[in-house]
């Protein structure tokens, strides 16, 4: 697996730059420290951060999908790369 990884150039890691977005959004506290606009009675401070949990997960998922595409890991070759010695990759 490590040998396959080494062939990847630095540039192919670009999708991981997307991770900067949740960091900037969450650490820039003044951008969300307010009450208005409320959503169904919930102040902005709360629904905005709760919403970012979903957005954050979406970013991770997106990076994973692009990463997988870039490395062009097909089902068959992945079995060779990461021998999981069963029982199943999912369970």
């Amino acid at each position: 697996m490590s040998r396959a990884k080494k062939k990847r150039g630095w540039l192919s890691y670009w999708p991981r730059l997307l991770f900067l977005i949740p960091f900037v959004a969450m650490l820039w506290v003044p951008s969300y420290n307010r009450i208005e606009p409320e959503l169904g009675g919930i102040p902005f401070f709360y629904w905005y951060q709760l919403g970012w949990i979903l957005l954050g997960a979406a970013v991770v998922l997106l990076v994973h999908v692009i990463d997988t595409r870039i490395t062009q890991v097909t089902e068959s070759s992945r079995k060779g790369l990461e021998a999981t010695d069963i029982p199943g990759d999912i369970l």
């Binding site: 490590s2 009450i35 009675g41 951060q49 990076v63 992945r78 990461e82 010695d85």
Partner: protein, 508 residues
């Protein structure tokens, strides 16, 4: 408070069920449990689903479910830092840990200390890792007991004296027994039950309780306005803004360095399992966000002013807010379900933490320094015994020492554990760092972080750092690990140079 019989019976029945499950787990994916990687890492065979339950059960603990809403209940918006924190842990998990898993898998590492010993060739650095891990985890296990004690007390068992501790001691004997026989398989299997119970409880809570209190608008309207947002900075201090951001970032960086998180990661079956979980674990984060809001629901329900719960608040402080809210809002049988969810939520991480400590002790202290020639079976036997000792230690800790100390030690635990970050992170990409420089960085970071907490009387981990006349109150763990990093980087080249020269002079 009188004993709530219906709730207690439901609670007891669920507890018995997971006890049975804990023992049955030994036969799940049957393997030789006399091997440490089978007992202590489940044979590294857990796929995406099991890892999801295991890490979820591991990271979102009983104490989280009690303490996060308690913090929101007591301090308002500041307590909500747990939400950005759980958002930031997953990019970090994705970036760092699949690579760590690959190295650990290839080289057969069971603990983080195994990994640094191999990467930097230093037994002393590995020893520092093992000791830090064990010392930082012990109060964490004790806090799980605090979470369990609060719900047992809320069921109406007598709180004071030795008799009050008997249910807790029984629970821990059960925990110790099934961890001993089944290893990591037990918490992995029980985590599934725990999570189902937690999901049911939380969804019921966020639907039923607001309906009773007149909707979310009414709940937020009943919270004092100054609690709803962070106090904006004044003068030349960044005030609560920098505190909020650094607490979130520092806690996120520290989380996966804890031995129990490392155990959960290393027990997965591939790097892709970890990557997938970095996205899927957000489901727990969302639950945590909802749980945090329970703190405000407790304010709106006015449980702290209700004389029926006065004794509970007197005994447990703000930690009683969620149990009181459940008692006030749910029928007895569902209170039993909810409290069982929290108590079982204490068993799972406590089991994983004690296994992680046992792995560290056995691999990096016993085998390394005491009996290098011990067999694999000896290794596993030692780990099982240590897992018992660790749990007895945690129980004694809770019985003998006031709760406040456990919380303060947990605060320090975060500061200590984050000091492991530089060697772990650097080790992923380079082996050229000097082990002595990393050790000096670790020692300095630990000392400075502890000093920062000491200046706050160990009551808070937020240290008012002054730079160029501006005060930046922030998480001491984050500040001290920056110093650790800088020292390791600055000292590495000269120490390497000296080592090479002395090697050359002895050769000639």
């Amino acid at each position: 408070m009188t004993l709530d019989l219906t709730a207690t019976i439901i609670f007891g029945a669920l507890f018995l069920f997971v006890t049975w499950l804990g023992f049955v787990a030994a036969r799940w994916r049957k393997a030789d449990l006399n091997l440490l990687h089978e007992w202590g890492l489940g044979g590294r065979r857990f796929g995406t689903m099991v890892t999801w339950f295991l890490l979820g059960g591991d990271l979102y603990t009983a104490y989280t479910f009690i303490a996060v809403p308690a913090l929101v209940f007591g301090k308002g918006a500041m307590g909500f830092f747990a939400v950005p924190y759980t958002i930031l842990i997953y990019p970090i998990l994705y970036l760092v840990f699949p690579r760590l898993w690959a190295i650990a898998h290839e080289r057969g590492h069971v603990t983080a200390a195994d990994y640094v010993r191999d990467r930097f060739g230093s037994r002393i650095l590995a020893l520092a890792f093992a000791l830090t891990g064990i010392i930082a985890t012990m109060p964490y296990i004790a806090l799980q007991l605090v979470g369990m004690e609060v719900v047992i007390g809320a069921l109406g068992f007598p709180a004071g004296g030795f008799a009050g501790h008997i249910p807790l001691i029984i629970a821990f004997i059960i925990l110790a027994a099934f961890t001993y026989t089944s290893g990591l398989r037990a918490p992995a299997l029980i985590a599934i039950v725990k999570d189902v119970l937690i999901f049911v409880t939380v969804f019921a809570a966020v639907v039923i309780i607001p309906a009773k209190l007149g909707g979310y608008g009414a709940i937020f309207a009943s919270v004092p306005p100054e609690k709803l947002t962070l106090a904006p900075p004044s003068g030349d201090s960044l005030g609560s803004y920098s505190a909020y951001a650094t607490l979130a970032l520092g806690s996120a960086l520290a989380l996966f360095l804890y031995p129990h998180a490392m155990t959960g990661i290393l027990s997965s079956s591939s790097g892709n399992v970890i990557r997938r979980n970095a996205a899927l674990l957000a489901a727990y984060s969302f639950i945590l966000g909802l749980i945090a809001l329970l703190g405000y629901m407790a304010i709106a329900a006015g449980v702290d002013r209700d004389p029926a719960y006065a004794a509970g608040f007197a005994q447990y402080g703000p930690n009683f807010a969620v149990p009181a809210l459940f008692l006030a809002s749910f029928p007895s049988w569902f209170v039993g379900v909810a409290f069982a969810a929290i108590a079982i939520g204490a068993l799972v991480p406590a089991a994983i933490m004690s296994i992680a400590c046992a792995n560290l002790f056995t691999r990096n202290l016993y085998k390394e320094f005491i009996r290098p020639d011990c067999s694999e079976a000896d290794e596993a036997r030692m780990a099982k015994i240590v897992s018992l000792v660790v749990k007895i230690g945690a129980v004694v800790f809770i019985l003998a020492i006031p709760q406040a100390y456990a919380i303060q030690l947990q605060l320090l635990g975060g500061i200590w554990i984050i000091q492991l970050l530089p060697p772990i992170l650097l080790g992923l990409y380079t082996r050229s760092f000097n082990a002595l420089a990393l050790l000096i960085g670790w020692a300095a970071g630990t000392a400075i972080g502890t000093y920062m907490a000491a200046t706050q009387g160990f009551a808070s981990s937020v240290y008012p750092l002054e730079i160029f006349g501006v005060t930046l109150p922030g998480y001491a763990a984050l500040y001290s690990v920056v110093i650790n990093f800088l020292l390791a980087a600055a000292l590495s080249p000269p120490l390497d140079f000296m080592a090479r020269r002395s090697a050359a002079s002895t050769a000639s």
